[in-house]
Assembly symmetry: C2
Homo-oligomer: 376 residues x 2
Amino acid sequence: MPATIRDVARASGVHISTVSRTFSAPHLVNPETRGRVLACAEELGYRPNRAARALITGRTHNIGLIIADIANPFFPPLIKAAESQARQRDYHVFVADTNEDPIAEEELVHALAKQVDGVLLCSPRMSNSLIEQLSREVPLVVINRQVTGLPCVTMDVGQGTRAAMEHLLDLGHRRIALLSGPRGSWTSREIRRAAGVAARSGGAELTVLGPNQPTETGGGALAEQVRRAGVTAVLAYNDLMAIGLIEGLDALGLRVPQDVSVVGIDDITLSRLTRPKLTTVATPTAAAGRTAVDMLLQHDSVAARGSRGGGRSGATDDRRTTAQVMLRTELVIRDSTAAAPADGPPGPDAQVVVPGPHRLAGPGRPTVATGGVVAS
Amino acid sequence: MPATIRDVARASGVHISTVSRTFSAPHLVNPETRGRVLACAEELGYRPNRAARALITGRTHNIGLIIADIANPFFPPLIKAAESQARQRDYHVFVADTNEDPIAEEELVHALAKQVDGVLLCSPRMSNSLIEQLSREVPLVVINRQVTGLPCVTMDVGQGTRAAMEHLLDLGHRRIALLSGPRGSWTSREIRRAAGVAARSGGAELTVLGPNQPTETGGGALAEQVRRAGVTAVLAYNDLMAIGLIEGLDALGLRVPQDVSVVGIDDITLSRLTRPKLTTVATPTAAAGRTAVDMLLQHDSVAARGSRGGGRSGATDDRRTTAQVMLRTELVIRDSTAAAPADGPPGPDAQVVVPGPHRLAGPGRPTVATGGVVAS
DNA sequence: CCGGATGCTGCAAACCTTTGCAGTTGAAGT
DNA sequence: ACTTCAACTGCAAAGGTTTGCAGCATCCGG
């Protein structure tokens, strides 16, 4: 039923190749002819079949974006940024969700491989070696992970973590817990390493709890452990866990930030809406999405796969630049952190105090401490 | 570089058609041969090219999902449900975000049309007539809107709104504001209609504010207007606006629910995390996603487009069942609603009172009032 | 020993488009 | 008038797959 290039050719009395060129290389066809073809195409509602085009050009003009969990508010800004960046270059983004499942991740790459020109692998949970292997099947850009030999864009969570720890240390905290993230997360490992170093050099004791589901539920489930650990401050793998933890602590009668300070990572919009507002490390997710698309498309436009004629000639180990970009992070101080309680960490049977005003840092612009570098 | 069906054929010493059948109709090929082919395919890392297959079968095994705004937490559960339902039937979902832009919506449908077997149009902002027109280009299932002649799945927000209004009326509210949603939203119209009826029959005065951006920002911006309207209760188009409004009211010194009661719609997970926890109308978003996929695939498997041989024969106005499904909604009562203040609505210069404990309804399971019907 | 059924495989067309090459036309240059 | 050139257009192959049809053995019943 849908009109094909042949229908348009018939209707406008030209050969199909002329119709094709009318769309893909307009300057090669007589303006008059072009007008007629265009009119007929419009009339018939013709739209070029991208799949058929892809078959011969080797370029689908689609990008795959594989995400661990769309429901995690960390990702949508990244998705939107990637999408709009791609659309500007006449590419479409196909988003797929893996539910934090490494197996689904691999399957998805395979399934997407032939329908897209490249895949953005966001917060992968699978192994580096598998990623490298998959990258031979389809161009890959990895987000939130460093894989040697592959283009990557990461956030400098190391620096962010350092800033957060220093903030906590400045407030007098010496017993700090770290809520780590899901198994397989590169970010989680980075955070842990940086937190460990900062704690040691600050003379603080760091208790690592995890790995955990990176959700509110995952954070909330740790409240009891946090209390038992007797810490005065907590750094969470992400905001969702931090918020869940605050809920959980609240249920246990522990107030944030009076009894326990909590710092998240990501600065999702939600973190501005909870009470207390969350102190957190802001990660430039939108920028990451844009950058990843740029990296993919740049290296992609150079070497179109499956080009015709040339026939299996080289190009298998082209020395692409494989840039590795690391984006700055920022500590955003809000209301979930405060000076360590003078009387030390509250015991399991601590009294619940009358809630005071939440805000410590005033209602103005959030205080910002900056860090991070741009590497290559 | 990627292995094709021809490579496998060569390697296993059979014709390409046999390789093809090994994958698409295994029972037609000798088990021994099949084994050999499979082995070679595995060896070469062959994966059938879905695009090429689509060219001839007319089925891509992809479905498109067009969403107004991925960053709105209302949608991710729907997306995930649709995705997992689709994956169970060996389909992939391509998600696209329109940024609430009707133009982008139309373009996206066109762009997706040839690469998917059908499109799920979620919360469309464009006109019904345009939707009908597009549905001739690619099978469509509409979510959150009723379009005659097209398969639709909607939430019974009318009933939900009724329940919310009754809840408010029961609490003694007689001056109520309605924060409407974005222009072009079917849901917003439904809510407005139902709220109008309920207000009239309950002897309450309803002030409609809008249309608005369906975001926290959109809600927050209305705080001043809400105060000036002198209402004691507000029903918002969605939770995000409700939460934004609560923030805004807070900044104005108005307490929720003591001074003003606020009800949202959607029951996004966020609504359980804010303080006060939001009273809201729960909409079955995941069920909607699943149902929509089912409806698309069912009607899709019956009439495969572009089948070979038959040649332009009929099937243009097949009497498909075009089911219209409406899903139940539920009022979930939490902490953002309370009895109307005895002394009437506070004026613009009301005193700020000392904050009391937020929870009124106790920390147990949320009270649930149910409503809604399943139509067809 | 023959007719036919059965089970498997090969052949080739078709899906829709792009693109190198060659052909046509007309104008410009010499 | 003849070549050269440019501008345009047609031809046909190619890309990877599916599938109706036909061919070939083999096996069974008679």
